[in-house]
């Protein structure tokens, strides 16, 4: 299996505080990789480095290599705007753009990129909504505001929005922590299905979720990657003492 995303010696800072230390990690095609660890361990910082969103924060810096589909997105002349279409992101709180309708929310990534109105646009929107199992629920509400949907639907809308531009990798930053258990279950089901279409890296503070849906799990602590292995191994026979302490609930 070849890796679709490789991280080499990734370091990140907030001002003078180092948040990530020498992270090297490979993610394989069509897998779900979970990132777990206690608050402040750097897991959100890590995935925000994968789409170069980290450096948008004032005084934040990142250094190292992140190779996506063979190209290093941190190479000197690379424009963050250009690479972000390849790496989609879904955030913790569902946040459809309030001034856009359901349809427009899904279409916006495409419109920005240049796909104008027309049959092609409608087809892609429909396809994305079907991928996230939202199409049947919203096909009669396509022109209502994106914020008029329920919480769980809004999050699936955000996933559809991210998928519409056909990214290679989908990053998810604790996507279900603001949702109720039923919506959470639906999204976990969805994510497991999406694996066939796109590679997923998901940050979660919920270990059971990681154990349920991911193929590989990475454990972060204080900005360092402690252990990275198949999920089954991590949760049954972790190699590092610190990993063991975390998953058995001794801290964090």
């Amino acid at each position: 299996m070849n890796a679709i995303l490789e991280t080499r010696n990734l370091n990140a800072w907030f001002g003078n505080t180092q948040a990530l230390q020498n992270i090297s990690l490979d993610v394989d095609h069509n897998t779900i990789t979970a990132i777990i660890g206690p608050s402040g361990c750097g897991k959100s910082t890590f995935i925000r480095c994968l789409n170069r969103l980290h450096e948008e924060v004032p005084d934040a810096k990142a250094q190292g290599q992140v190779i996506v589909e063979g190209k290093d997105i941190y190479a000197p002349k690379v424009d963050p705007v250009a690479i972000r279409r390849k790496i989609g992101m879904v955030f913790q709180k569902p946040n459809p753009f309030p001034s856009l309708t359901v349809f427009e929310n899904v279409a916006i990534g495409l419109k920005l990129a240049g796909l104008k109105r027309g049959v092609a646009l409608k087809e892609v929107v429909e396809k994305s909504l079907k991928l996230t199992a939202l199409w049947d629920e919203v096909k009669d509400k396509l022109h209502t505001p994106g914020t008029s949907l329920s919480g769980g639907q809004q999050q699936r809308l955000c996933i559809a929005r991210a998928l519409a531009v056909e990214p290679a990798v989908l990053l998810m930053d604790e996507p279900t922590s603001a949702l109720d258990p039923i919506s959470t279950a639906r999204i976990e089901e969805l994510v497991t299905d999406l694996k066939k279409t796109v590679t997923i890296v998901i940050v979660t503070h919920n270990m059971q979720q990681a154990a349920r849906i991911s193929d590989k799990t990475a454990f972060f602590l204080l900005g360092e990657l402690i252990e990275y292995d198949n999920t089954s191994r991590i949760f049954t026979a972790p190699k590092d003492k610190k990993t063991e302490r975390y998953i058995t609930g001794r801290f964090g």
């Binding site: 789409n51 279409r85 992101m89 955030f91 753009f97």
Partner: protein
């Protein structure tokens, strides 16, 4: 027994003091509302002779003749409207631009400094702007800007006629300078209420920074921006000294922006102290009453657009008029 009695007295005294305190505060507050009401009443009373004499004609007649003692306020209404429109046209894009620059582009320390500078614009007294207008802005307009406009855009009636320097355009520009801090500081506050995650979602989709600004910031704040602009309009309408000093003070209606004109506030400032006949005074007060009513309406409309829980204190750091 005696101790109990003393305590009872003390409690009654304290209760009485509390009551007095409460009523002093309450009455002073009601008195404030009363002042507002009285202003309207007094102005109306003083304007009554003119109101009775001219009726509605006052608002659409362009004859302002102290010698014949006939007065029509159309020229000053026209002057007020046009100068304020020029001001809004210039100030709105400028203010929104400044607000966007400060919230989206500038690094923190730069935005503090520039933000301070923009607020200092609001602190300069109106009369100082007027002084600068007479001796710096107007000559520059007369020498360089107006001839330039006349030769390039002279086919439009707005840019025809002799370049005086002082006049409608000069007043409009100074007004624009004076209302920019108001509009931009309200816009800044509104932009700050947009959660960071909205901006990040746009960027994560591959939007450029400008596209992010349109999508996440401008599109969702249209209502607030409108309120800010209306508030700026309200200030422009009532601005007195700077306008009086640079508008040229003539009672004509002319399409040209170069022409001297008058506004409602400027005519009161100019003529009130020297008005001889009662009718002249009443006419001027009637203009004041109309100005009061208009400002009242415009400011009320603005509030509909700007949501509650908004830091109104910022508005009061405004310029002296």
């Amino acid at each position: 027994m005696q101790i109990k009695h003393n305590t009872k007295n003390k409690l009654r005294e304290a209760h009485l003091a509390d009551q007095i305190f409460y009523w002093v505060l309450k009455l002073s507050s009601i008195a404030l509302t009363l002042v507002l009401f009285l202003i309207a009443v007094f102005l109306y009373k003083q304007a009554l002779p003119a109101i009775k004499n001219f009726g509605w004609r006052f608002l659409h007649s362009s004859v302002w003749d102290p010698v014949k003692d006939t007065y029509g306020s159309l020229p000053v209404i026209y002057g007020t409207v046009v100068s304020s429109l020029i001001a809004i046209t210039i100030a709105t894009p400028l203010s929104i631009g400044v607000a966007l620059f400060l919230t989206e582009i500038a690094p923190k320390h730069l935005s503090k400094i520039v933000g301070f500078l923009v607020e200092m614009l609001a602190a300069i007294p109106s009369v100082v702007y007027g002084l600068w207008g007479i001796f710096v802005l107007a000559p520059w307009l007369r020498r360089d800007v107006e001839p330039f406009l006349a030769s390039n855009l002279g086919f439009l009636p707005f840019f025809q006629g002799p370049p005086y320097g002082v006049g409608m355009l000069c007043a409009g520009i100074i007004l624009a300078i004076m209302i920019t801090p108001t509009i931009s500081s309200i816009c800044r506050e509104i932009f700050h209420t947009i959660p960071q995650i909205q901006r990040e979602s746009a960027l994560a989709l591959g939007a450029t920074k400008w596209e992010m600004m349109q999508l996440s910031v401008l599109k969702s704040t249209k209502k607030g921006i409108t309120g800010a602009v209306i508030l700026g309009l309200g200030r422009a309408l009532g601005e007195t000294m700077a306008v009086t000093m640079v508008i040229g003070n003539r009672h004509d209606i002319s399409l040209s922006f170069f022409a001297p004109s008058s506004t409602m506030a400027s005519i009161i400032a100019n003529e009130y102290a020297e008005a001889t006949t009662d009718m002249h005074v009443a006419a001027l007060v009637e203009i004041g009453f109309v100005l009061l009513a208009v400002t009242f309406v415009i400011n009320s409309i603005a509030r509909i657009f700007i949501s509650r829980g908004f830091r109104w204190t910022n508005l009061f750091k405004g310029a002296a008029k």
